[in-house]
């Protein structure tokens, strides 16, 4: 359900792949100035906003306007912003973060438990309806999922589940892209002979999956988990529509609530006014888990890519 189509899904056999096929012989050593300028410009474009965000959290609102935009405020300022943010409606920020973690994590567990066996069965077994399921998955994977949010609201409303956390988690758990990735992985990287050997040794079908296929699929499991977690953590539209109460919001929707209370952006902001540096700090908190997952999975993802790349 929550595939963000703007973000590229990275097939496992790409990325860092097949480095061995190219050498460095014959390359120009003198960098082209135009290329250097291009790379530098985009370096600034991608980095400066992130850097600014980190620094803004350490400043007062006055410093934000009068100081150098890329200067450090003070530890005291960071502390003050932290206190002000956490005091906002009594720890609501932590509640939002906890909600995000709960939704994203439960959906992740279900996604993996559901998608990996499905990808395996689609790739390695024959059963009635296999082709239909495969085609349906491809179609749904490419269909803009945000357009289903309003119909999904109507459906969930019809079964009186609006406001339940499962109305968020279950649609998150439906992750056709994860099925597609595992399907590609199993059909390209897992030799059938291996399965037949295990079967001859007396393994049940489930045993073959659990003892042979699953251990070999760790890289793709991690990859699906990575994409699913990031997609769910950053989803806005679905919880925005489906969750009626502030204390159920994930942090993404919470950020919107905070934004509403920043006087510079909304002059009618009431008594619960939020200063801009607090909003910056809240944004920083909201992205930290995703950033950590990014950093930690970097190596693992690259290793996964290489495992697939040997196929080429």
């Amino acid at each position: 359900m929550p595939t963000d189509l703007r973000r590229p899904p990275v097939p496992i056999y790409l990325r860092e792949g097949a480095r061995t096929t190219r050498g460095t012989r014959g390359r120009r050593r003198i960098p082209n100035p135009l290329a250097a300028i291009l790379l530098l410009f985009f370096l600034l474009f991608f980095v400066v906003p992130v850097l600014w965000l980190v620094l803004a959290a350490t400043k007062t609102d006055d410093q934000l306007i009068s100081g150098n935009p890329l200067s450090f405020g003070s530890w005291h300022g960071l502390r003050a912003n932290w206190d002000a943010l956490t005091a906002y409606q009594g720890d609501t920020v932590f509640l939002w973060l906890r909600n995000s973690a709960l939704y994203a994590f439960l959906a992740l567990v279900i996604t993996l438990a559901v998608a990996v066996p499905t990808g395996y069965a689609l790739a390695m077994t024959e059963f009635r309806g296999r082709r239909t399921l495969l085609v349906a998955t491809l179609i749904v994977m490419l269909m803009p999922s945000a357009t289903l949010v309003v119909p999904l609201f109507l459906e969930i409303n019809a079964v009186h589940l609006i406001g339940s956390m499962w109305s968020i988690i279950l649609p998150y758990s439906f992750y056709p892209f994860g099925v597609f990735l595992t399907y590609i992985y199993f059909s390209t990287a897992l030799p059938r002979d291996l399965l037949d050997a295990a079967r001859l040794d007396g393994c049940s079908e489930f045993g073959v999956f659990r003892r042979v296929a699953l251990p070999l699929a760790i890289p793709v499991v991690a990859l699906v988990g990575f994409f699913s977690f990031v997609a769910n953590w950053t989803n806005y539209f679905l919880p925005y529509v489906l969750l009626p109460q502030s204390d159920q919001f994930p942090v993404q929707v919470g950020l919107g609530t905070l934004l509403d209370n920043v006087p510079q952006f909304n002059p009618t902001a009431g008594t619960a006014a939020v200063e801009r540096p607090e909003l910056a700090l809240a944004t920083l908190l909201a992205i930290t888990p995703v950033l950590l997952v990014f950093l930690f999975s970097q190596r693992f993802l690259v290793a996964g890519m290489l495992a697939g790349a040997t196929k080429e």
């Binding site: 096929t21 120009r28 935009p69 059963f127 349906a136 289903l148 459906e155 079908e205 539209f237 950020l255």
Partner: protein, 286 residues
């Protein structure tokens, strides 16, 4: 391949989710789109109601304009940057740059909009001098509705491009070096190699990127929604089609027209998807 019940066991849970959250909402949307509030068949009246709404044509125009900017910038800059990074003699530098370009991807969704609210406010932005140089002194001037296609493109590019650069780089790696070497021996320069060999071989991936970006672009919601919140109405709440659908459903209490817009978006998505599946050969078994 072996027949059987085992296969069904493996796919049962997924099939349930597919039905509940893929098939049923689609059917539901179609049902609502062709009925009226009294649950009777309404023909195309919901579609004409949506199309004749004064916000509909502007919303289509907005999305169309945004898609042009977004797709062109994505194809030009992602392919360009990937080629440059791939030629970079200093491998560690190339790797670091790819990772750094990738970082804003962690700020998808509302977080990226928050960052860009600040970046686009001349009072606090590190690029404030640029904005003032262009003649914009206030946040409201910067996010004037006419600027939104470009601003939304910048936000989307900022969060999405890094991941695509990694993909393109991987695809470039898969081009056999012999082929490049042969062209070089024949006297081709970097530009000719890129144009005659690398870009044609990337074609499939460029199409893949463009189609996913197109499908994603049509479902714009969080960016214009939060921008309109922050600008206090300078940017309207009805900028994109999804916002319009949301408004029909929850402000106007008109779920049938809302569903009609959803169905239209789904049809666009479905057409794009099927063109992609049938024409690109992308899913051909390998």
């Amino acid at each position: 391949m072996w027949p059987g019940r085992a296969g069904h066991g493996f796919v049962a849970a997924y099939t349930l989710l597919l039905i509940a959250f893929g098939v049923v909402p689609t059917v539901y949307a179609v049902y609502f789109a062709f009925t009226n509030a009294g649950d009777t068949f309404a023909g195309l009246s919901n579609f004409t109601a949506a199309a004749s709404d004064f916000r509909f044509v502007p919303a289509i125009t907005h999305i169309g304009l945004y898609l042009v900017f977004w797709l062109v910038s994505l194809v030009v800059f992602v392919v360009g940057l990937s080629l440059v990074l791939h030629r970079l003699a200093a491998r560690p530098l190339s790797k670091v740059l790819r990772f750094v370009y990738y970082i804003p991807g962690a700020l998808a969704g509302a977080a990226s909009v928050m960052v860009w609210l600040f970046m686009l406010d001349p009072a606090v932005s590190p690029a404030g001098f640029l904005l003032r140089g262009l003649g914009y002194d206030t946040f409201a001037q910067v996010i004037a509705p006419g600027h939104l296609p470009i601003l939304l493109t910048i936000i989307a590019f900022w969060t999405g491009a890094g991941g695509w650069i990694v993909v393109m780089y991987g695809a470039l790696n898969n081009i056999p070096h012999d082929m490049i070497e042969a062209a070089r021996i024949d006297g081709a320069n970097a530009w000719q190699i890129a144009r005659r060999i690398q870009i044609p071989l990337l074609r499939k991936w460029i199409v893949y990127m463009a189609i996913l970006a197109f499908a994603g672009g049509t479902q714009l919601f969080v960016e214009p929604e939060l921008l309109s919140q922050a600008s206090n109405g300078v940017a309207g709440r009805d900028y994109s089609l999804n916002q319009l659908s949301y408004d029909f459903a929850f402000q106007n209490n008109n779920v049938n027209t809302a569903a009609a817009i959803s169905v239209e978006l789904l049809v666009i998505g479905l057409v794009v998807a099927s063109v992609f599946v049938t024409r690109s050969g992308f899913f051909d078994a390998d």
